[in-house]
Symmetry: C2
């Protein structure tokens, strides 16, 4: 069999990169074929901080598969629209993921490992143990970083007890104080001041059809809400442009303070009344504080979906 | 959470029924909720023989889910057209399977465990070991039966080393001579004489679009090819009726001798030349012997697909 490429989703986060590195290393110890971790984009500043901290190189960036090989393994995603451009033509040998399954199809039986936990790297730790493969320190470090990133240091409601146990085990292997390191790593991803508003809106944004409306929901992590909202006028202007350009009816920007685990919304478009109803809030100056909200998947999308349908 | 139903595919075989019973038992030991194995059809004679042999009751037959619960777990299938009629509305908590993934989608993250092995019950044995749950003798017996059925007593090319190891381990637990028992069980499924030709054609049949053609491929297991071909005229007449009724261009019936692992084809429709080319054979009286062929999935469908496209 020819070379095997392993990669996470487009616009990769720390789990997409870390899980690819960790799963490729595991597969290389188990298989004769050459297995290479690659990525569908460059690392974010948070991910680059983690890679540098543990002395790892960023995976090579690819966008298509077929010029190199037909054999791939996916981590941290399965939906084809989040994957390589020509994924439908590839032979998918394995998937390790923690998301819902949708827009995914194979011609042949495959290895598929999914669990409803907070991070793909939590599942990959299990696979190392099942195969009794020792985890090198740098790889334990990037897996720990992925869990910290996906769970916001265990504060996200997507975090499960299995993620916390896994993170502590990985922290021992790489001899890392996960609280201190985790906060530094998350802060490294909050360097927003040098980025134009249009980039901030697109750092981590997804589109959702809800009822008759097409809704865009972006999220920014920060350690200082004020620093972000000092640029409110610039952000709102960019949100208007995005709505017009892509046909979004509504843009909801979630600005999350990773230190105290609250988020402030900034809302541009229609209908604001439904956003207010969804969270039982009143928007003032297009803004509202949501205490204890940090997860788009669990604390924002379902509430908006209910209000708009 | 309300009750959880576990089931295999429509037109269930021994793995669809056995894996449901085995996975439901495992889940009942791990969860607080009531987990019930059910089936999307009545057992075949082979499966009923296995259930009787190990003192198990056939699972209750259902066709839809929503009147009872919203929570389900699937074994031995994932494609919605093979599942409960209202599967798209159910909340799928878990899947354990050994097929390709297609026409499958969930709203939420789930537990998904697939491996490219010969039988779902081989994977379920692994899950019992991971959870350190002891397998009761009757459940080991029906899991052993499922592996024997799916692999035709290890003779099918779909059989992997993992299936053989699993079967031997299960045979020890249920204190069964798997060779002698396996042959008796497979023979129990070959009682064809009391069934009309239309029933034989539909015992295990699937449709495949190939190129411009719509092709139906049925399979019958027997210990006596002659007994089946004594009814050739009756079978051909029924195949003509099926082709006309459902718009099949071609009906290929694979009659498999499970004792010597050969199959004889019976072919009605067009184009016979392409069938001859696919297997490098000459049909005589619409028939041809295929030495060593027992698997539709691996030894018939790919060859016909290549010839027709």
């Amino acid at each position: 069999m020819s070379k095997i490429l392993v990669f996470g989703h487009q616009n990769p986060d720390t789990d997409a990169i870390g899980a690819a590195i960790a799963f490729a290393y595991l597969q290389n110890t188990l298989r004769e074929e050459d297995v290479e971790a690659v990525a569908l984009g460059t690392p974010s500043e948070e991910t680059q901080y983690a890679l540098d901290h543990f002395g790892l190189k960023a995976p090579r960036v690819i966008s298509t598969v077929k010029d190199e090989t037909t054999n791939v393994m996916l981590v941290d995603h399965n939906e084809f629209q989040q994957s390589a451009a020509d994924i439908a033509e590839a032979n998918i040998l394995a998937v390790v993921d923690h998301h819902r399954i949708a827009n995914f199809e194979t011609a042949n039986p495959l290895y598929y490992r999914a669990e409803p936990v907070g991070c793909t790297s939590t599942i990959i730790l299990k696979l190392y143990k099942e195969e009794q493969v020792a985890i090198p320190e740098p790889i334990a470090g990037i897996m720990l970083s992925a869990i910290i990133s996906d769970t916001l240091l265990f504060k996200s409601p997507t975090c499960t007890p299995a993620d916390i146990v896994a993170a502590k085990e990985l922290a021992e292997i790489c001899e890392t104080d996960y609280q201190a390191y985790g906060l530094e790593m998350l802060k490294a991803g909050t360097n927003l001041s040098d980025k134009p508003a249009s980039v901030l809106l697109d750092l981590d944004a997804k589109s959702f059809p809800m009822g008759e409306k097409n809704i865009r929901i972006g999220q920014i992590n920060t350690v200082d809400l004020k620093e972000v909202f000092d640029r409110q006028a610039e952000l709102e202007a960019a949100m208007v442009v995005e709505n017009e350009k892509h046909g979004y009816d509504l843009f909801v920007l979630i600005v999350t303070n990773i230190l105290d685990s609250d988020s402030e919304l900034l809302v541009v478009g229609e209908s604001k009344e439904k956003v207010e109803a969804a969270f039982n809030i009143s928007l003032e100056n297009n803004r509202a504080l949501l205490k204890g909200v940090v997860s788009r998947k669990k604390q924002v999308v379902p509430q908006l979906t209910a209000a708009f349908s």
